[in-house]
């Protein structure tokens, strides 16, 4: 039995008086595809943001790939991680955002090659060759020289996925990556993610409102409400026979709102 690649241990997160996560623990196995579902404000996006070090935690520990994320050993004790430690840890993790967050002043190719060249010292030619491979994989090779503003939402998101992959992270975080897209553009992004899941053994955490996709994509589904895991299980069990009433209510509502399962 391999050990978990992510071990979230009793973390708390609050914004002032508002507690978003309260004593949350999750283990994620290497290569696992995990879907986080639940109503808005339930804390699922916060978990991804915490893993990407975009939000600090107020308590608890997170271990990623054998090392503490927010702590580091110092003279036999665990102390708060410094920027250098965080940079080392971030190498293991990539993230794709709801609103793409491409660099608008750089063409598609430069968006992808920037970080490998600056953070890993990859030579320009090698970085571009790798970027073209990735663009090919997401079906955007012919747009390498386009500016982000010239692309549709779905195209932007596919570029953003390629950009995150260029750093070869072990863990990929997808934060509602189709929520900002027109309905007809959703499928092209989901197809890229299906391909990615099939062709790599990356660990993937997915926050989504696309229940049908979560069902097909995930090995395990966690249903969140108010910062706690209400129910978790295999997609078939979760979507066909949810045990908890809150899960049932949520799924009923989201189906009524037009999302297919």
């Amino acid at each position: 039995m391999p050990s978990p690649i992510i071990r979230i241990d009793n973390i708390t997160k609050s914004y002032g008086p508002l507690t978003v996560l309260d004593g949350l623990s999750i283990d994620v196995m290497p290569g696992e595809k995990l879907a986080l579902i639940g109503p808005s404000g339930s804390g699922k996006t916060t978990i991804l943001r915490i893993l990407m070090t975009l939000e600090k935690i107020n308590g608890g520990h997170i271990e990623v790939d054998g090392d503490q994320l927010y702590h580091m050993p110092n003279a036999g004790r665990l102390v708060a991680a410094d920027e250098r430690h965080l940079q080392k840890m971030r190498e293991k993790i990539g993230m794709v955002f709801q609103h793409f967050n491409l660099f608008p002043h750089k063409c598609v190719l430069d968006n992808i090659t920037l970080a490998p060249m600056l953070t890993k010292g990859v030579a320009k030619a090698a970085a571009e060759a790798r970027a073209m491979e990735l663009l090919d994989m997401v079906g955007m090779a012919d747009k390498a020289k386009s500016m982000p503003a010239q692309l549709s939402g779905g195209q932007k998101q596919r570029v953003a996925i390629a950009r995150a992959l260029a750093l070869s992270p072990k863990i990929m975080l997808f934060d509602e990556v189709t929520s900002a897209l027109d309905p007809e553009l959703v499928e092209e992004v989901l197809n890229v993610m299906r391909k990615l899941a099939a062709e790599t053994d990356m660990t993937m955490l997915l926050v989504t409102h696309e229940m049908g996709f979560a069902h097909d994509f995930a090995d395990r589904v966690l249903f969140f409400d108010r910062g706690k895991i209400v129910e978790e299980g295999k997609p078939d069990d979760m979507f066909r026979n949810p045990r908890q009433e809150r899960t049932q209510t949520f799924l009923r509502k989201i189906i009524a709102a037009g999302h297919r399962v």
Partner: protein, 219 residues
Amino acid sequence: MIDWSGYIGLILQGALVTIELTIMGSALALVMAFAAGLGRLSRFLAVRTLATVYIEFFRGTSIFVQLFWVYFVLPFAGVTLTPLQAGVLALGLNVGAYGAEVVRGAVRAIGREQHEACVALNLGRYHRMRHVILPQALPLMLPTFGNNAIELLKGTAVVSLISLTDMTFQAQVVRAQTGSTLIPFATILILYFAMACAISAGVRWLERRASRGLDGVRV
């Protein structure tokens, strides 16, 4: 009948001094604007404080007083400057303080999502600023920088007070010698205006270049 050609030549000599002051003053102002503007965004309190003190002091006192300090008071501290050096220093420091707020505002206008993308891509602070934030902030700064440069150009007239023979100084010389106010002051009016137009055109060109591909769209 007055022979104007010699007098106009005098004013043109003054115009060269004005241009020199404007270019060198703008260069210093630009350096100070970035140093103090980014300094105010520093994570170190000491740097932020230093930048804030500089900005507030030079914005809060008049260029006239600053110039007198630089030229007449600094020598008591053992620093003697030529009138040109003193003029460039006072103008550059003064306008740089305004420019610093422009730099700070433009950098802060770049959305949080760009910073977050940088964190997710593991870019360090320097790379973030150099490759992502500043290239997007620059087009936002340029229009106001153009304003500041024109302000600086017009501000150069005060250096005549420390005996620097700029355009305004020469116009007064011509006025004193010929008794005509209209001709010398009409001449420098046109020259100042032409210089300001040149600055505007140059900044517009830079704006087009810097925002190429951005199309005013934030992604």
